[in-house]
Amino acid sequence: MAVKGILKEGEYYDSVTLMLVARDVLALEGVEDAAVVMGTEQNKSILETSGILLDMFKNAIDSDLLIAVKAKDEATCDAAIQKAKELLTSRHSKMQETGEYMPKSLEGAVDFLPDANMVIISLAGKYAGDEAMKALKKGLHVMLFSDNVTIETEIELKQYGKEHGLLVMGPDCGTAIINGAPLCFANVVNRGDIGIVAASGTGLQEVSAVISNEGAGISQAIGTGGRDVKKDVGGIMFIEGIKALEEDPETKYIALVSKPPHPEVLKKVASLIKTEIKKPVVGIFLGGDPKVVEEAGAIPANTLEEAGLIASSLSKGKSMDEFKQLLEEREKELLNLAEKESKNKTATQKFVRGLYTGGTLCDEAMLISRTIIGEVYGNAPLNPQFKLEDSWRSKENTFVDLGEDEFTVGRPHPMIDFTLRNKKILEEANDKEVAVILLDVVLGYGSNMKPGDELNPIIKQAKKSAEADGRNITFVCTITGTDKDPQGRGKVKQQLEDAGALIMPSNAAASKLASYIVKNIGGVK
Protein backbone atom coordinates (compact mmCIF):
# COMPACT_ATOMS: atom_id res chain seq x y z
CA MET A 1 0.00 0.00 0.00
CA ALA A 2 1.30 3.47 -0.89
CA VAL A 3 0.35 6.97 0.27
CA LYS A 4 1.13 10.03 -1.84
CA GLY A 5 -0.07 13.59 -1.98
CA ILE A 6 0.40 17.12 -3.20
CA LEU A 7 -0.06 20.55 -1.63
CA LYS A 8 -1.10 23.55 -3.71
CA GLU A 9 -0.66 26.90 -2.04
CA GLY A 10 -3.45 29.45 -2.28
CA GLU A 11 -5.78 27.33 -4.35
CA TYR A 12 -9.25 27.56 -2.83
CA TYR A 13 -12.33 25.49 -3.60
CA ASP A 14 -15.64 25.23 -1.80
CA SER A 15 -16.27 22.16 0.34
CA VAL A 16 -18.95 20.57 -1.83
CA THR A 17 -16.76 20.76 -4.94
CA LEU A 18 -13.90 19.16 -2.99
CA MET A 19 -16.06 16.40 -1.57
CA LEU A 20 -17.51 15.52 -4.95
CA VAL A 21 -14.01 15.33 -6.44
CA ALA A 22 -12.88 13.15 -3.52
CA ARG A 23 -15.83 10.86 -4.10
CA ASP A 24 -14.89 10.38 -7.77
CA VAL A 25 -11.27 9.72 -6.84
CA LEU A 26 -12.30 7.19 -4.20
CA ALA A 27 -14.31 5.31 -6.81
CA LEU A 28 -11.15 4.66 -8.89
CA GLU A 29 -9.90 1.10 -8.93
CA GLY A 30 -7.14 0.35 -6.45
CA VAL A 31 -7.76 3.48 -4.38
CA GLU A 32 -8.20 2.66 -0.72
CA ASP A 33 -8.68 6.16 0.71
CA ALA A 34 -8.53 9.69 -0.65
CA ALA A 35 -8.90 13.22 0.63
CA VAL A 36 -9.21 16.46 -1.31
CA VAL A 37 -9.47 19.18 1.32
CA MET A 38 -8.36 22.65 2.36
CA GLY A 39 -5.55 22.63 4.94
CA THR A 40 -7.59 23.59 8.01
CA GLU A 41 -6.64 22.23 11.42
CA GLN A 42 -9.83 20.16 11.48
CA ASN A 43 -9.12 18.63 8.07
CA LYS A 44 -5.54 17.89 9.07
CA SER A 45 -6.73 16.02 12.12
CA ILE A 46 -9.14 13.99 9.98
CA LEU A 47 -6.23 13.10 7.67
CA GLU A 48 -4.14 12.12 10.68
CA THR A 49 -6.88 9.80 11.96
CA SER A 50 -7.09 8.23 8.52
CA GLY A 51 -3.32 7.77 8.43
CA ILE A 52 -2.83 9.96 5.34
CA LEU A 53 -1.40 13.12 6.90
CA LEU A 54 1.84 13.40 4.95
CA ASP A 55 4.74 15.38 6.45
CA MET A 56 4.37 18.08 3.80
CA PHE A 57 0.81 18.77 5.04
CA LYS A 58 1.74 19.44 8.65
CA ASN A 59 2.35 23.18 8.21
CA ALA A 60 -0.45 23.71 5.70
CA ILE A 61 -2.84 26.62 6.29
CA ASP A 62 -6.51 27.19 5.50
CA SER A 63 -5.81 28.53 2.00
CA ASP A 64 -3.73 25.50 0.89
CA LEU A 65 -5.29 22.69 -1.09
CA LEU A 66 -4.28 19.19 0.02
CA ILE A 67 -4.74 16.06 -2.08
CA ALA A 68 -3.84 12.74 -0.46
CA VAL A 69 -4.34 9.26 -1.85
CA LYS A 70 -3.79 5.84 -0.34
CA ALA A 71 -3.75 3.13 -2.99
CA LYS A 72 -2.40 -0.29 -3.83
CA ASP A 73 0.79 1.12 -5.40
CA GLU A 74 2.53 4.41 -6.25
CA ALA A 75 1.40 4.39 -9.87
CA THR A 76 -2.25 4.18 -8.80
CA CYS A 77 -1.66 7.05 -6.34
CA ASP A 78 -0.14 9.19 -9.11
CA ALA A 79 -3.00 8.44 -11.48
CA ALA A 80 -5.58 9.28 -8.79
CA ILE A 81 -3.87 12.57 -7.93
CA GLN A 82 -3.77 13.45 -11.62
CA LYS A 83 -7.49 12.68 -11.89
CA ALA A 84 -8.26 14.92 -8.90
CA LYS A 85 -6.29 17.76 -10.50
CA GLU A 86 -8.16 17.34 -13.77
CA LEU A 87 -11.55 17.34 -12.08
CA LEU A 88 -10.70 20.51 -10.18
CA THR A 89 -9.31 22.23 -13.27
CA SER A 90 -12.40 21.39 -15.29
CA ARG A 91 -14.48 23.03 -12.57
CA HIS A 92 -12.38 26.19 -12.71
CA SER A 93 -12.27 26.41 -16.46
CA LYS A 94 -16.05 25.98 -16.64
CA MET A 95 -16.34 29.24 -14.74
CA GLN A 96 -13.66 30.88 -16.89
CA GLU A 97 -15.19 29.73 -20.19
CA THR A 98 -18.37 31.58 -19.46
CA GLY A 99 -16.21 34.69 -19.13
CA GLU A 100 -17.86 35.59 -15.87
CA TYR A 101 -16.47 38.36 -13.78
CA MET A 102 -15.95 37.17 -10.23
CA PRO A 103 -15.13 39.89 -7.72
CA LYS A 104 -12.78 38.92 -4.92
CA SER A 105 -14.83 40.52 -2.18
CA LEU A 106 -18.29 41.56 -1.09
CA GLU A 107 -17.34 45.17 -1.78
CA GLY A 108 -16.40 44.31 -5.36
CA ALA A 109 -19.65 42.42 -5.83
CA VAL A 110 -21.72 45.39 -4.64
CA ASP A 111 -19.90 47.66 -7.12
CA PHE A 112 -20.76 45.24 -9.91
CA LEU A 113 -24.36 44.57 -8.85
CA PRO A 114 -25.40 47.83 -7.13
CA ASP A 115 -29.06 46.77 -6.79
CA ALA A 116 -28.16 43.55 -4.98
CA ASN A 117 -30.37 43.10 -1.93
CA MET A 118 -29.51 39.63 -0.62
CA VAL A 119 -26.26 37.90 0.28
CA ILE A 120 -26.09 34.12 0.61
CA ILE A 121 -23.15 32.96 2.69
CA SER A 122 -22.00 29.35 2.84
CA LEU A 123 -18.41 29.71 4.03
CA ALA A 124 -16.88 27.83 6.95
CA GLY A 125 -18.49 29.06 10.18
CA LYS A 126 -15.43 30.95 11.42
CA TYR A 127 -15.48 33.26 8.38
CA ALA A 128 -19.24 33.43 7.87
CA GLY A 129 -20.12 35.77 10.74
CA ASP A 130 -17.73 38.51 9.59
CA GLU A 131 -19.00 38.41 6.02
CA ALA A 132 -22.61 38.48 7.25
CA MET A 133 -21.99 41.58 9.37
CA LYS A 134 -20.24 43.28 6.43
CA ALA A 135 -23.30 42.55 4.28
CA LEU A 136 -25.73 43.90 6.90
CA LYS A 137 -23.69 47.07 7.27
CA LYS A 138 -24.09 47.58 3.52
CA GLY A 139 -27.87 47.33 3.96
CA LEU A 140 -28.12 43.85 2.47
CA HIS A 141 -30.38 41.06 3.70
CA VAL A 142 -28.53 37.89 4.65
CA MET A 143 -29.10 34.19 4.27
CA LEU A 144 -26.49 32.41 6.36
CA PHE A 145 -26.33 28.79 5.25
CA SER A 146 -23.17 28.13 7.28
CA ASP A 147 -23.32 26.44 10.64
CA ASN A 148 -20.68 26.59 13.38
CA VAL A 149 -21.34 30.28 13.89
CA THR A 150 -21.27 31.15 17.59
CA ILE A 151 -24.47 32.01 19.42
CA GLU A 152 -23.00 35.41 20.37
CA THR A 153 -22.42 36.21 16.70
CA GLU A 154 -25.92 35.04 15.81
CA ILE A 155 -27.47 37.33 18.42
CA GLU A 156 -25.30 40.25 17.32
CA LEU A 157 -26.25 39.77 13.65
CA LYS A 158 -29.95 39.37 14.38
CA GLN A 159 -30.10 42.38 16.70
CA TYR A 160 -28.45 44.47 14.01
CA GLY A 161 -30.86 43.08 11.41
CA LYS A 162 -33.87 43.83 13.59
CA GLU A 163 -32.75 47.40 14.24
CA HIS A 164 -32.12 48.06 10.56
CA GLY A 165 -35.08 46.28 8.95
CA LEU A 166 -32.96 43.48 7.49
CA LEU A 167 -33.55 39.74 7.31
CA VAL A 168 -30.96 37.50 8.91
CA MET A 169 -31.91 33.97 7.93
CA GLY A 170 -29.67 31.51 9.76
CA PRO A 171 -26.99 30.55 10.74
CA ASP A 172 -27.70 26.99 9.67
CA CYS A 173 -30.58 28.08 7.49
CA GLY A 174 -30.85 25.64 4.60
CA THR A 175 -34.03 26.80 2.94
CA ALA A 176 -35.91 29.94 2.00
CA ILE A 177 -38.15 31.13 -0.81
CA ILE A 178 -37.96 34.87 -1.38
CA ASN A 179 -39.99 36.60 -4.11
CA GLY A 180 -40.57 33.21 -5.72
CA ALA A 181 -36.88 32.29 -5.87
CA PRO A 182 -35.82 29.08 -4.12
CA LEU A 183 -32.68 29.81 -2.09
CA CYS A 184 -30.15 27.05 -1.25
CA PHE A 185 -32.11 23.82 -0.58
CA ALA A 186 -35.62 24.77 -1.63
CA ASN A 187 -38.36 23.45 -3.82
CA VAL A 188 -39.87 25.14 -6.82
CA VAL A 189 -43.42 25.87 -5.69
CA ASN A 190 -46.43 27.80 -6.94
CA ARG A 191 -46.57 31.43 -5.98
CA GLY A 192 -49.57 32.28 -3.89
CA ASP A 193 -50.84 33.92 -0.74
CA ILE A 194 -49.41 31.72 2.03
CA GLY A 195 -46.37 33.05 3.87
CA ILE A 196 -44.20 30.75 5.97
CA VAL A 197 -41.81 31.41 8.82
CA ALA A 198 -39.81 28.31 9.70
CA ALA A 199 -37.09 27.42 12.16
CA SER A 200 -36.68 24.09 10.38
CA GLY A 201 -35.37 23.63 6.84
CA THR A 202 -36.88 20.32 5.78
CA GLY A 203 -40.04 21.24 7.71
CA LEU A 204 -40.35 24.31 5.50
CA GLN A 205 -39.74 22.17 2.41
CA GLU A 206 -42.40 19.61 3.33
CA VAL A 207 -45.05 22.26 4.17
CA SER A 208 -44.36 24.38 1.08
CA ALA A 209 -44.37 21.32 -1.21
CA VAL A 210 -47.68 20.06 0.24
CA ILE A 211 -49.21 23.52 -0.29
CA SER A 212 -47.98 23.68 -3.88
CA ASN A 213 -49.08 20.12 -4.66
CA GLU A 214 -52.54 21.04 -3.34
CA GLY A 215 -52.75 23.81 -5.92
CA ALA A 216 -52.21 26.69 -3.48
CA GLY A 217 -48.98 28.72 -3.33
CA ILE A 218 -46.32 30.51 -1.35
CA SER A 219 -45.78 34.28 -1.12
CA GLN A 220 -42.58 34.17 0.97
CA ALA A 221 -40.92 31.44 3.01
CA ILE A 222 -38.52 32.79 5.60
CA GLY A 223 -36.07 30.43 7.30
CA THR A 224 -34.58 31.48 10.63
CA GLY A 225 -32.26 28.59 11.55
CA GLY A 226 -33.22 26.23 14.37
CA ARG A 227 -31.47 28.18 17.15
CA ASP A 228 -33.60 31.28 16.61
CA VAL A 229 -36.50 29.94 18.72
CA LYS A 230 -34.26 28.85 21.59
CA LYS A 231 -33.98 30.91 24.75
CA ASP A 232 -30.73 32.73 23.94
CA VAL A 233 -31.68 34.17 20.58
CA GLY A 234 -35.23 34.64 21.82
CA GLY A 235 -37.00 34.26 18.49
CA ILE A 236 -35.69 37.57 17.09
CA MET A 237 -36.06 36.64 13.42
CA PHE A 238 -39.07 34.34 13.91
CA ILE A 239 -40.93 37.35 15.28
CA GLU A 240 -39.58 39.83 12.71
CA GLY A 241 -40.51 37.33 9.99
CA ILE A 242 -44.13 37.12 11.17
CA LYS A 243 -44.34 40.91 11.30
CA ALA A 244 -42.94 41.19 7.77
CA LEU A 245 -45.55 38.74 6.47
CA GLU A 246 -48.32 40.68 8.23
CA GLU A 247 -47.15 43.81 6.37
CA ASP A 248 -46.87 42.06 3.03
CA PRO A 249 -50.02 42.64 0.93
CA GLU A 250 -49.37 39.46 -1.11
CA THR A 251 -49.56 37.30 2.03
CA LYS A 252 -53.07 36.46 3.21
CA TYR A 253 -52.30 33.50 5.49
CA ILE A 254 -49.31 32.70 7.68
CA ALA A 255 -47.90 29.26 8.52
CA LEU A 256 -45.37 28.78 11.34
CA VAL A 257 -43.11 25.71 11.33
CA SER A 258 -40.71 24.78 14.11
CA LYS A 259 -39.75 22.36 16.78
CA PRO A 260 -41.30 23.55 20.07
CA PRO A 261 -39.90 27.03 20.77
CA HIS A 262 -38.58 27.86 24.22
CA PRO A 263 -41.58 28.79 26.46
CA GLU A 264 -40.42 32.40 26.70
CA VAL A 265 -40.19 32.63 22.91
CA LEU A 266 -43.58 31.01 22.54
CA LYS A 267 -45.02 33.58 24.92
CA LYS A 268 -43.65 36.39 22.77
CA VAL A 269 -44.98 34.77 19.59
CA ALA A 270 -48.42 34.25 21.18
CA SER A 271 -48.57 37.84 22.37
CA LEU A 272 -47.60 39.08 18.89
CA ILE A 273 -50.28 36.96 17.19
CA LYS A 274 -52.94 38.14 19.60
CA THR A 275 -52.11 41.83 19.49
CA GLU A 276 -50.65 42.64 16.08
CA ILE A 277 -51.45 39.87 13.59
CA LYS A 278 -54.76 40.14 11.79
CA LYS A 279 -54.12 37.39 9.23
CA PRO A 280 -55.07 33.77 10.01
CA VAL A 281 -52.09 31.80 11.37
CA VAL A 282 -51.54 28.01 11.19
CA GLY A 283 -48.88 26.55 13.48
CA ILE A 284 -46.99 23.29 13.64
CA PHE A 285 -44.56 23.04 16.53
CA LEU A 286 -43.43 19.44 16.07
CA GLY A 287 -43.66 17.50 19.32
CA GLY A 288 -45.20 20.44 21.13
CA ASP A 289 -48.66 20.62 22.62
CA PRO A 290 -51.22 21.74 19.97
CA LYS A 291 -53.18 23.44 22.75
CA VAL A 292 -50.36 25.91 23.17
CA VAL A 293 -50.67 26.84 19.50
CA GLU A 294 -54.41 27.28 19.92
CA GLU A 295 -53.96 29.43 22.99
CA ALA A 296 -51.60 31.59 20.97
CA GLY A 297 -54.49 32.33 18.65
CA ALA A 298 -53.30 30.09 15.81
CA ILE A 299 -54.85 27.03 14.19
CA PRO A 300 -52.89 23.98 15.39
CA ALA A 301 -51.72 21.24 13.03
CA ASN A 302 -50.58 17.77 14.10
CA THR A 303 -48.21 17.09 11.22
CA LEU A 304 -46.30 19.07 8.60
CA GLU A 305 -48.71 17.76 5.99
CA GLU A 306 -51.69 18.89 8.03
CA ALA A 307 -50.20 22.38 8.36
CA GLY A 308 -49.89 22.50 4.56
CA LEU A 309 -53.41 21.18 4.05
CA ILE A 310 -54.99 23.63 6.51
CA ALA A 311 -53.19 26.58 4.93
CA SER A 312 -54.20 25.38 1.44
CA SER A 313 -57.83 24.97 2.51
CA LEU A 314 -57.88 28.52 3.87
CA SER A 315 -56.24 29.86 0.73
CA LYS A 316 -58.67 28.09 -1.58
CA GLY A 317 -61.69 29.08 0.50
CA LYS A 318 -62.50 25.45 1.30
CA SER A 319 -64.02 24.31 4.55
CA MET A 320 -61.81 22.64 7.14
CA ASP A 321 -64.00 19.55 6.91
CA GLU A 322 -62.73 18.80 3.41
CA PHE A 323 -59.14 18.22 4.43
CA LYS A 324 -60.27 16.27 7.48
CA GLN A 325 -62.29 14.02 5.18
CA LEU A 326 -59.25 13.58 2.93
CA LEU A 327 -57.14 12.51 5.90
CA GLU A 328 -59.84 10.12 7.15
CA GLU A 329 -60.09 8.44 3.74
CA ARG A 330 -56.31 8.27 3.58
CA GLU A 331 -56.23 6.59 6.99
CA LYS A 332 -58.48 3.80 5.73
CA GLU A 333 -56.28 3.32 2.66
CA LEU A 334 -53.16 3.16 4.83
CA LEU A 335 -54.71 0.53 7.10
CA ASN A 336 -55.74 -1.59 4.08
CA LEU A 337 -52.33 -1.29 2.51
CA ALA A 338 -50.66 -2.18 5.81
CA GLU A 339 -52.87 -5.23 6.13
CA LYS A 340 -51.83 -6.41 2.67
CA GLU A 341 -48.11 -5.76 3.22
CA SER A 342 -48.16 -7.52 6.60
CA LYS A 343 -49.20 -10.80 5.03
CA ASN A 344 -46.05 -11.46 3.04
CA LYS A 345 -43.58 -11.31 5.93
CA THR A 346 -41.71 -14.24 7.48
CA ALA A 347 -41.76 -14.98 11.21
CA THR A 348 -38.37 -13.32 11.72
CA GLN A 349 -39.38 -10.02 10.08
CA LYS A 350 -40.58 -7.65 12.78
CA PHE A 351 -39.08 -4.22 12.49
CA VAL A 352 -38.83 -0.97 10.53
CA ARG A 353 -35.62 0.84 9.65
CA GLY A 354 -36.07 4.49 8.78
CA LEU A 355 -33.10 5.91 6.86
CA TYR A 356 -33.63 9.66 6.74
CA THR A 357 -31.74 12.49 5.07
CA GLY A 358 -34.00 15.28 6.41
CA GLY A 359 -33.61 15.92 10.16
CA THR A 360 -37.07 17.36 10.76
CA LEU A 361 -38.64 14.63 8.64
CA CYS A 362 -36.91 12.05 10.83
CA ASP A 363 -38.19 13.80 13.97
CA GLU A 364 -41.72 13.88 12.62
CA ALA A 365 -41.57 10.20 11.65
CA MET A 366 -40.44 9.27 15.18
CA LEU A 367 -43.22 11.38 16.73
CA ILE A 368 -45.84 9.66 14.57
CA SER A 369 -44.43 6.15 14.99
CA ARG A 370 -44.25 6.58 18.75
CA THR A 371 -48.07 6.77 18.89
CA ILE A 372 -48.39 3.49 16.94
CA ILE A 373 -45.40 1.28 17.81
CA GLY A 374 -43.86 3.03 20.80
CA GLU A 375 -40.37 4.49 21.07
CA VAL A 376 -37.86 3.76 18.31
CA TYR A 377 -34.07 3.63 18.50
CA GLY A 378 -31.96 6.17 16.69
CA ASN A 379 -28.85 8.37 16.64
CA ALA A 380 -31.05 11.32 17.66
CA PRO A 381 -34.03 9.61 19.33
CA LEU A 382 -36.93 11.42 21.01
CA ASN A 383 -36.23 9.55 24.23
CA PRO A 384 -32.51 9.59 25.15
CA GLN A 385 -32.81 6.06 26.56
CA PHE A 386 -33.30 4.84 22.99
CA LYS A 387 -30.04 6.26 21.67
CA LEU A 388 -28.16 3.64 19.68
CA GLU A 389 -24.87 2.61 21.25
CA ASP A 390 -23.40 2.61 17.77
CA SER A 391 -25.17 4.83 15.24
CA TRP A 392 -23.98 2.59 12.44
CA ARG A 393 -25.77 -0.48 13.87
CA SER A 394 -29.56 -0.47 13.94
CA LYS A 395 -31.54 -2.27 16.59
CA GLU A 396 -35.21 -3.38 16.57
CA ASN A 397 -37.23 -0.39 15.29
CA THR A 398 -34.64 2.23 14.36
CA PHE A 399 -34.84 5.63 12.64
CA VAL A 400 -31.56 7.30 11.83
CA ASP A 401 -30.94 10.85 10.67
CA LEU A 402 -28.04 10.48 8.23
CA GLY A 403 -27.65 14.26 8.11
CA GLU A 404 -26.21 14.32 11.65
CA ASP A 405 -22.57 15.33 11.99
CA GLU A 406 -21.37 11.81 12.86
CA PHE A 407 -22.31 10.67 9.34
CA THR A 408 -21.37 13.79 7.38
CA VAL A 409 -17.76 14.46 8.37
CA GLY A 410 -15.75 14.52 5.15
CA ARG A 411 -18.66 13.84 2.84
CA PRO A 412 -21.48 15.86 1.30
CA HIS A 413 -24.91 15.90 2.96
CA PRO A 414 -26.89 12.68 2.33
CA MET A 415 -29.50 14.68 0.40
CA ILE A 416 -26.76 15.28 -2.19
CA ASP A 417 -24.65 12.15 -1.98
CA PHE A 418 -26.62 8.91 -1.65
CA THR A 419 -23.55 6.66 -1.28
CA LEU A 420 -23.84 6.15 2.48
CA ARG A 421 -27.59 5.59 2.55
CA ASN A 422 -27.42 3.20 -0.41
CA LYS A 423 -24.91 1.16 1.55
CA LYS A 424 -27.17 1.23 4.63
CA ILE A 425 -30.19 0.13 2.56
CA LEU A 426 -28.32 -2.96 1.36
CA GLU A 427 -27.12 -3.72 4.89
CA GLU A 428 -30.61 -3.41 6.39
CA ALA A 429 -32.07 -5.61 3.65
CA ASN A 430 -29.73 -8.40 4.76
CA ASP A 431 -31.03 -8.25 8.33
CA LYS A 432 -33.58 -11.04 8.80
CA GLU A 433 -35.50 -8.96 11.35
CA VAL A 434 -36.25 -6.14 8.92
CA ALA A 435 -39.77 -5.97 7.44
CA VAL A 436 -39.98 -2.36 6.30
CA ILE A 437 -37.43 0.18 5.07
CA LEU A 438 -38.66 3.77 5.25
CA LEU A 439 -36.93 6.42 3.13
CA ASP A 440 -37.32 10.14 2.52
CA VAL A 441 -36.35 11.67 -0.80
CA VAL A 442 -36.03 15.44 -0.70
CA LEU A 443 -36.15 17.11 -4.10
CA GLY A 444 -35.41 20.68 -5.07
CA TYR A 445 -32.34 22.74 -5.77
CA GLY A 446 -29.27 21.77 -3.79
CA SER A 447 -30.33 18.12 -3.51
CA ASN A 448 -29.27 15.11 -5.56
CA MET A 449 -30.36 15.77 -9.15
CA LYS A 450 -31.06 12.13 -10.07
CA PRO A 451 -32.55 10.48 -6.99
CA GLY A 452 -34.68 8.06 -9.01
CA ASP A 453 -31.74 6.88 -11.14
CA GLU A 454 -29.68 6.25 -8.01
CA LEU A 455 -32.30 4.68 -5.76
CA ASN A 456 -34.11 2.49 -8.28
CA PRO A 457 -31.29 -0.05 -8.74
CA ILE A 458 -30.47 -0.08 -5.02
CA ILE A 459 -34.07 -0.81 -4.00
CA LYS A 460 -34.27 -3.53 -6.66
CA GLN A 461 -30.99 -5.05 -5.49
CA ALA A 462 -32.05 -4.93 -1.84
CA LYS A 463 -35.41 -6.53 -2.56
CA LYS A 464 -33.76 -9.18 -4.71
CA SER A 465 -31.19 -10.17 -2.12
CA ALA A 466 -33.90 -10.46 0.56
CA GLU A 467 -36.11 -12.47 -1.80
CA ALA A 468 -33.25 -14.87 -2.46
CA ASP A 469 -33.43 -15.54 1.28
CA GLY A 470 -37.23 -15.97 1.19
CA ARG A 471 -38.06 -12.53 2.62
CA ASN A 472 -40.15 -9.72 1.20
CA ILE A 473 -39.16 -6.26 2.33
CA THR A 474 -41.64 -3.40 1.98
CA PHE A 475 -40.06 -0.13 0.89
CA VAL A 476 -42.09 2.91 1.94
CA CYS A 477 -40.96 6.28 0.57
CA THR A 478 -41.98 9.88 0.98
CA ILE A 479 -40.97 12.39 -1.68
CA THR A 480 -40.78 16.02 -0.55
CA GLY A 481 -41.07 18.10 -3.68
CA THR A 482 -43.13 19.18 -6.64
CA ASP A 483 -43.37 18.51 -10.36
CA LYS A 484 -41.76 21.92 -10.91
CA ASP A 485 -38.58 20.82 -9.11
CA PRO A 486 -35.66 20.12 -11.44
CA GLN A 487 -35.93 16.39 -10.61
CA GLY A 488 -39.73 16.30 -11.11
CA ARG A 489 -41.72 14.58 -8.36
CA GLY A 490 -43.85 12.58 -10.80
CA LYS A 491 -40.81 11.18 -12.58
CA VAL A 492 -39.04 10.20 -9.36
CA LYS A 493 -42.24 8.63 -8.02
CA GLN A 494 -42.52 6.49 -11.16
CA GLN A 495 -38.89 5.37 -10.94
CA LEU A 496 -39.26 4.32 -7.30
CA GLU A 497 -42.57 2.58 -7.97
CA ASP A 498 -40.89 0.71 -10.82
CA ALA A 499 -38.41 -0.60 -8.26
CA GLY A 500 -41.31 -1.88 -6.14
CA ALA A 501 -41.50 0.88 -3.52
CA LEU A 502 -44.73 2.31 -2.11
CA ILE A 503 -44.78 6.10 -2.48
CA MET A 504 -46.82 8.06 0.02
CA PRO A 505 -48.13 11.61 -0.46
CA SER A 506 -46.38 12.89 2.68
CA ASN A 507 -43.87 12.01 5.38
CA ALA A 508 -46.75 11.68 7.86
CA ALA A 509 -48.50 9.11 5.64
CA ALA A 510 -45.26 7.20 5.00
CA SER A 511 -44.35 6.92 8.67
CA LYS A 512 -47.90 5.86 9.52
CA LEU A 513 -47.92 3.13 6.89
CA ALA A 514 -44.53 1.80 8.02
CA SER A 515 -45.69 1.78 11.65
CA TYR A 516 -49.02 0.09 10.91
CA ILE A 517 -47.22 -2.74 9.12
CA VAL A 518 -44.88 -3.21 12.09
CA LYS A 519 -47.81 -3.14 14.50
CA ASN A 520 -49.63 -5.83 12.48
CA ILE A 521 -46.64 -8.18 12.46
CA GLY A 522 -45.93 -7.79 16.15
CA GLY A 523 -42.82 -5.63 16.06
CA VAL A 524 -44.06 -3.41 18.88
CA LYS A 525 -41.86 -3.39 21.95
Binding site: I61, L113, V119, I120, L123, A135, G165, P182, D248, G446
Partner: protein
Amino acid sequence: MRKISDLFKQELQVINIGLVSFKESLEDVGVKVIQVDWRPSAATDDETRDALQKLLGSK
Protein backbone atom coordinates in the same frame (compact mmCIF):
# COMPACT_ATOMS: atom_id res chain seq x y z
CA MET B 1 -36.94 53.47 8.19
CA ARG B 2 -36.36 50.43 6.04
CA LYS B 3 -38.54 47.37 6.65
CA ILE B 4 -37.99 43.69 5.87
CA SER B 5 -41.24 43.68 3.88
CA ASP B 6 -39.77 46.27 1.46
CA LEU B 7 -37.63 43.42 0.09
CA PHE B 8 -40.78 41.64 -1.09
CA LYS B 9 -41.57 44.51 -3.48
CA GLN B 10 -38.11 44.52 -5.08
CA GLU B 11 -36.49 42.35 -7.72
CA LEU B 12 -34.34 39.84 -5.85
CA GLN B 13 -30.65 40.25 -6.74
CA VAL B 14 -28.16 38.04 -4.99
CA ILE B 15 -24.48 38.03 -4.07
CA ASN B 16 -23.32 34.47 -3.43
CA ILE B 17 -20.32 33.82 -1.21
CA GLY B 18 -19.44 30.13 -0.97
CA LEU B 19 -20.96 27.11 -2.67
CA VAL B 20 -21.14 27.75 -6.41
CA SER B 21 -24.13 25.42 -6.78
CA PHE B 22 -26.32 27.99 -5.00
CA LYS B 23 -25.45 30.53 -7.68
CA GLU B 24 -26.16 28.08 -10.48
CA SER B 25 -29.60 27.15 -9.16
CA LEU B 26 -30.59 30.82 -8.84
CA GLU B 27 -29.49 31.46 -12.43
CA ASP B 28 -31.60 28.50 -13.44
CA VAL B 29 -34.73 30.26 -12.18
CA GLY B 30 -33.75 33.59 -13.71
CA VAL B 31 -32.46 35.44 -10.63
CA LYS B 32 -29.61 37.94 -11.10
CA VAL B 33 -26.69 36.65 -9.07
CA ILE B 34 -22.97 37.28 -8.80
CA GLN B 35 -20.43 34.88 -7.34
CA VAL B 36 -17.66 36.19 -5.10
CA ASP B 37 -14.34 34.46 -5.72
CA TRP B 38 -13.80 34.27 -1.99
CA ARG B 39 -10.75 32.71 -0.37
CA PRO B 40 -9.44 32.79 3.16
CA SER B 41 -6.76 35.34 3.81
CA ALA B 42 -3.28 33.90 4.29
CA ALA B 43 -3.35 35.27 7.84
CA THR B 44 -5.51 32.62 9.38
CA ASP B 45 -4.71 32.80 13.04
CA ASP B 46 -7.40 34.77 14.81
CA GLU B 47 -5.06 37.24 16.46
CA THR B 48 -3.45 38.32 13.19
CA ARG B 49 -6.80 38.46 11.47
CA ASP B 50 -8.34 40.67 14.14
CA ALA B 51 -5.32 42.95 14.10
CA LEU B 52 -5.52 43.25 10.31
CA GLN B 53 -9.21 44.04 10.43
CA LYS B 54 -8.62 46.70 13.04
CA LEU B 55 -5.91 48.27 10.90
CA LEU B 56 -8.13 48.19 7.86
CA GLY B 57 -11.04 49.56 9.85
CA SER B 58 -13.39 46.84 8.70
CA LYS B 59 -14.56 45.82 12.14
